[in-house]
């Protein structure tokens, strides 16, 4: 495995995560340089979400090395938290509060000063076209609206690394278009994107990690080095 320098945003070596006897990730190794996107593909149960959650410091690896933005996990997880933005399956919004109040809460937890936070929140809400709904209670909003708010929450503190679990979920085409400038591949963002869409994965990512059942690595490398057909073949084999 390449033992790289601090240029790597993410460096994984033999990363493993078990739940009792069940293996969710079986020895994943990869390197992701800053400014690049890693696409993670795989069938359900292949460990994609587990991997993302480990990178987000929400889970501890069972064995193996994980270094994210120069922080060794799990030891230095506390140093990493403020620098990553995580978008998971749950919107992580409190239902009794409005979208704006939720974002203010997140801003406070990230130590963003109140005035600056207010401006940033206003700006983000505008960018996802949620001005009319930002002051309504979250439980009155549709899934698509919540996802837009979740995207705001994810980038609120200007993270250096984005960890996105199916970011387009629940979003209508307008939503996806609005989200693109915030969490898309432009502007030299370092991202890890989990998705089911192989074509999009090959298109948007520079690196690809294809996982298989039981968290085994089916393919790891540059997206330029594998074609869509080859990828399908990998999965055809995996699905047997």
């Amino acid at each position: 495995m390449p033992k790289s320098t601090d240029d790597a945003a993410i460096l994984l070596d033999e990363l493993r995560r078990d739940y009792g006897e069940r293996t969710a990730l079986a020895g994943v190794g990869l390197e992701l340089a800053k400014g690049l996107t890693l696409s993670v593909l795989g069938p359900n149960g292949a460990g994609k979400t587990t991997l993302l959650r480990i990178l987000a410091t929400l889970l501890r690896p069972t064995t193996g090395q994980a270094t994210v933005l120069g922080c060794e996990l799990p030891r230095e997880a506390w140093r990493l938290r403020g620098r990553i933005g995580y978008l998971g399956h749950e919107a992580l919004l409190y239902r009794d509060l409005s979208g704006r109040e939720n974002l203010r809460f997140a801003a406070r937890l990230h130590g963003i000063e109140a005035g600056h936070a207010e401006r940033r929140i206003g700006d983000l809400i505008g960018r996802v076209a949620m001005e009319r709904h930002a002051d309504r209670r979250v439980d009155e909003l549709s899934a698509g609206m919540r996802q837009r708010l979740a995207i705001c929450r994810c980038v609120l503190h200007e993270p250096e690394l984005l960890l996105l679990d199916e970011p387009a979920a629940h979003l209508d085409p307008e939503g996806r278009a609005l989200a693109e400038p915030l969490i898309g591949s432009g502007e030299g963002r370092t991202r890890v994107v989990v998705s089911h869409d192989a074509a999009a994965a090959l298109r948007d990512g520079e690196r690809l990690l294809a996982l298989d059942h039981g968290g085994a690595v089916a393919f790891e490398g540059a997206t330029s080095s594998i074609s869509a057909e080859a990828l399908t073949a990998v999965y055809a084999g995996a699905l047997s």
């Binding site: 078990d18 739940y19 009792g20 006897e21 069940r22 293996t23 059942h213 039981g214």
Partner: protein, 247 residues
Amino acid sequence: MRINLRTLSIASVVMIAASLALVFFYAPLDADQGFIQKIFYLHVPLAIVALSGFVIGGLHAIRHLHTGDRLHDARSYVSIHLSVIFGVGVLLTGAIWAKASWGKWWVWDEPTLVSFLIVFLLYATYYPFRYAIEDPERQARYASVFAITAGAFVPLNFLAVRLAENLVHPRVLATAEGGMPAKMWLTFLVSISGMALLWATLVRFELTAKSASAQLARLRRALEPGRPERRAPVPARAAPTIAGGAE
């Protein structure tokens, strides 16, 4: 402790036999209470060993949280488990003594017994608490926090109950206070030793049994064909574990 199970068992049997012999043939008859006083040699050692067991369970729990090694969790669980069982014995023998001495099956006047009841009730909740948590690692962690919290609770509880009792009332169990003749002391000490050895033997026995069944389960699965990821969680690795119910 590298003493093996067989040695422990033999030592326990010997010590218990010795204490029984002493209780029935050596220890003098109590002037006030007569023969029934001899239940003291069963009741008090049971209580002391049970309470020590709870404390030991708490200590193992601390080590578990510190190291993350599930072996300590297993030790904590088994220590508490057996102490709860011994606790039932304490309460039953306490009731028998109360009936024989006071004519009632339970007395609120004896602060030690009352404190023990409360401690017992707390540790009895350890099981439903533990098994209500599904994720095995989380279950072990939470159980350790419980064991530590309960351990902190025990002295506080004894203090509060002691303060609550009307101190004018005579204490029924004048245990280990001055005035016990030497022969009673000896019998008492031998009884405690026997009880402690019995406890340690049972702990070792249960841990060994769990470890064996865990290994057996793992071998079974290793021999079976097919993918492992859809299997239900089973006790893991070298340490005997509690989750999943290898009970």
